[in-house]
């Protein structure tokens, strides 16, 4: 950990500092007999944080393991337990990791695959919380965690919005689940719920989200001071710490830095950006660098992605009915009808002044893949911009072929160049 004080750190340093601090806090919590909760990435943490429960995020953790080339060992463990390679690789990496932690806890010995893993050490949970606003896989995965560890599972079910806007009935059902989660937590924690802190945590969450949105807004400028791939990195804190000031502090710093860069006429792209793309889907974590470089090498910068935008969880923190908070957690674009999904993407492309789209056909994510054909066609009908699709996977490195990716990116580059030339003629 850096010796600098956080107030002296740059955004990048703050990001690393707070990520490490969160892991350390979770380990300390466990050591001191406090509760640890594993949470789905867009599940509402507000109730748990209000009860001072240490939060750990398996999706972020799995992405980190993937990025550090440690996924295969965990995937092998899941394979041994009978998990099909068809199951989400985040889920399988996490189940593998959980199994190794469990073996360690039961035998007192650290399994070799765990000892050698580049994964950040996180403790086993005392409870889990899940939410299906980004997939129903998170219901199955967390059912299994709860069963394997014999611990409580809090479910926040946000029904698929087949029509938009979100219905009042849906909001009421979700708000009722928040209230139910509160009573579950009172039982689990053995003490009354802290409503005052809950209010403060909601306010904090909104301050973090406001700073997150400030960062995302920077890609509207041309040339862009923001490299969209940086959002993939900073996402770790909007997932893991949006209800804490860690996220707010880091995002504010980063947004300030970007504004400063913009004022000075600088840009994220060293050299002139040739064109700007939208990345649709989750990052390919084991190949994050390669996927970025292939774009960079041909002068493309990513200035739009709906994926990090899913954490734009703006709501009215003063709304005690919790309907506003319910609405924020259910309107995730992949939890809505195709028409709305397309509109969200169109706005992102427009805001980022994008020239084309790169669709990730993600072997691990059916929900973010099976509508790609229709989404791409509808978007092209509306804005006429070119697109390509590539095969990949968020954390299973075996499902991504760099050569195919590079060819597709090149094809997109050529189409965008051609469109620009045609536009200039």
């Amino acid at each position: 950990m850096s010796e600098k004080m956080p107030s002296q750190m740059k955004a990048k340093e703050l990001l690393a500092y707070y990520q490490a601090k969160l892991d350390e806090e979770a380990r300390q919590a466990k050591a001191n007999g406090k509760l640890v909760c594993w949470s789905a990435s867009v599940a509402p943490p507000e109730m748990c944080v209000a009860m001072d429960i240490a939060m750990v995020y398996p999706e972020t953790h799995a992405a980190g393991i993937g990025a550090r080339k440690g996924a295969l060992d965990m995937l092998d463990v899941a394979d041994r337990l009978g998990y099909s390679v068809d199951c989400c690789s985040y889920g399988r990496v996490n189940i593998g990791y959980m199994e190794l932690l469990k073996e360690e806890a039961m035998s007192g010995k650290t399994p070799e695959a765990l000892a050698n893993s580049p994964a950040a050490r996180v403790p086993l949970p005392d409870l889990v919380i899940t939410c299906n606003n980004i997939c129903n896989t998170l219901l199955k995965w967390y059912e299994n965690l709860a069963a394997e560890l014999n611990i409580p599972c809090i479910v926040i079910d946000v029904p698929f919005n087949h029509t938009m806007p979100v219905s009042e009935e849906s909001k009421e059902y979700i708000a009722d689940q928040f209230r139910n989660a509160i009573s579950q937590l009172e039982v689990i924690c053995g003490r009354p719920f802290d409503y005052e802190k809950f209010h403060q945590v909601r306010q904090q969450t909104q301050r973090s989200i406001a700073q997150w949105n400030r960062i995302a807004a920077m890609s509207q400028y041309k040339p862009s001071p923001l490299n969209g791939f940086d959002l993939f990195n900073y996402m770790a804190l909007v997932v893991c710490a949006r209800s804490r000031d860690y996220a707010e502090i880091t995002f504010k710093k980063f947004a300030d830095e970007l504004e400063e860069l913009y004022k000075q006429g600088g840009s994220a792209f060293k050299g002139a950006e040739q064109n700007r793309v939208t990345w649709e889907g989750i990052a390919v974590w084991p190949y994050l660098g390669q996927t970025f470089k292939a774009l960079k090498n041909q002068g493309s910068i990513m200035t739009g992605s709906a994926y990090p935008n899913m954490w734009d969880l703006s709501y009215d923190a003063e709304d005690e009915s919790l309907h506003s908070m319910a609405e924020a957690y259910t309107r995730t674009y992949i939890n809505t009808c195709l028409e709305n999904k397309v509109n969200v993407l169109l706005k992102i492309m427009e805001k980022g002044q994008c020239d084309g789209v790169l669709y990730h056909l993600n072997r691990s994510c059916k929900l973010m893949s099976f509508l790609n054909v229709e989404t791409a066609e509808l978007i092209q009908e509306k804005n006429g911009l070119p697109y390509v699709s590539f095969d990949g996977d968020q954390t299973d490195p075996r499902n991504f072929a760099p050569a195919q990716y590079e060819t597709r990116v090149q094809a997109l580059g050529e189409m965008m160049d051609q469109a620009q030339q045609t536009g200039q003629e």
């Binding site: 337990l81 998990y83 099976f370």
Partner: protein, 374 residues
């Protein structure tokens, strides 16, 4: 008597094999239309109360070609089939299609229908223990009811709905009895015929189906059950098709004595509860009472204990897992109940189900070695 049984079975086989004819006959006889019901669960009673025929859309056995444009290879086998049929216009004579979205694949499928029939989507709540979940689903059903009324031009009265609920509850009870009786008469009801009786259920008006099943039960029960020299298995999964797979069970003397298939017994597991509440609310309660299914969230994971209980009650020798290719909700359940089986010494075997398949040699080899070692 045997002749009578066979004549009755022939009727089920004919309907199961030719849903198009079942649809055309229904339209000719009643002058009313047919409404498709996508897997896995829908309040069919609402459709039935309009006088239209609810018809299950559970894939087929086509060679996949057009669907490849719209679905990657890792979409489940049944939805590849449904997509192929959509592209072929096979569903275009339906007046509408009712769509539930309890898994990620179905959410997407509900947004990309390639046929001409209107799609009526509703969402099941997953925090099923809560009263607010019942209320939410009741509202979803009310919206669905309005849409059905607009399409069919029929006002669904509470009286008509209560009548349909009774018809469905009776059919479910009769099918549970059928499953029980078929297990006692494996020489009389082959696995393939057992499936045909269940499958015909999806294509027939339910009171007619009930009458026919009752006749079949009476005819079977008039004979003496014979000792079974083969083995007895419980099957679990989404469905067990094509028939070629069931032939192997029959050839190897593996009698299916109970099933936990979404297409079969899961459809008749839970009745609409009795009570004074409005019928729409009671229909919603069915989902709360559902259990042992991969798309009905269960943080207690009771599917394994449920299957073990089925094994005990039916004195089965093993569980055969019919794993729908690329069905991740089923795949997520497997490791948990597999471990529970191992802990209790229950034999099990997983075979892959691909509706497109025409050759089953791998499944045959695996089932054969299971049969030999039981």
């Amino acid at each position: 008597m045997e002749q009578n049984i066979n004549a009755l079975l022939e009727q089920f086989r004919a309907v199961a094999a030719n849903p198009k004819k079942a649809m055309e006959d229904y339209i000719a006889e009643t002058g009313k239309g047919v409404i498709g019901i996508m897997p896995l669960y829908a309040p069919e009673e609402l459709v039935h109360a309009t006088g239209f025929l609810p018809m299950g859309l559970w894939g087929g056995n086509r060679s996949i070609s057009k669907a490849r444009t719209y679905l990657p290879p890792f979409a489940c086998s049944i939805m590849q089939q449904v997509m192929e049929l959509e592209c072929d216009g096979a569903y275009d004579d339906l007046s509408a299609v009712v769509f539930s979205v309890p898994c990620d694949t179905l959410k997407c499928m509900s947004q990309k229908w390639k046929g001409t029939a209107p799609v009526l989507v509703f969402t099941h709540p997953q925090n099923r223990g809560l009263e607010s979940a019942n209320r939410f689903l009741e509202h979803e059903y009310a919206v669905l009811q309005e849409k059905l009324e607009a399409i069919t031009g029929v006002k669904i009265t509470n009286a008509a709905l209560e009548n349909s609920i009774q018809i469905y509850n009776e059919n479910r009870a009769v099918m549970r009895e059928f499953s029980h009786v078929a297990a006692q008469y494996p020489q009389v009801i082959s696995n393939k015929d057992r499936h045909a009786v269940f499958k015909a259920r999806m294509f027939m008006e339910k009171s007619r189906h009930t009458t026919l099943v009752k006749e079949l039960l009476a005819a079977i029960k008039a004979t003496e059950p014979q000792p079974w020299t083969g083995k007895r298995v419980v099957v679990t999964g989404i469905l067990l098709e094509p028939d070629g797979l069931l032939d192997i069970f029959d050839e190897l003397g593996l009698a299916i004595v109970a099933d936990d298939l979404a297409q079969e017994s899961r459809q008749v597991r839970v009745d609409v509860p009795e009570g004074n509440e409005a019928p729409l609310y009671r229909l919603a309660r069915v989902w709360q009472n559902m259990y042992g299914c991969c798309v009905a969230t269960d943080t207690k994971k009771q599917r394994g204990p449920m299957l073990m209980d089925m094994v005990r009650k039916t004195e089965a020798d093993a569980v055969v897992v019919a794993m729908m290719k690329f069905c991740d909700p089923e795949e997520w359940d497997y490791p948990i109940y597999y471990r529970q089986f191992e802990e209790k010494g229950i034999r099990s075997l997983m075979i892959e189900v691909d509706q497109e398949a025409t050759a089953f040699e791998q499944a045959r080899t695996r089932l054969q070695s299971l049969a030999e070692t039981l």
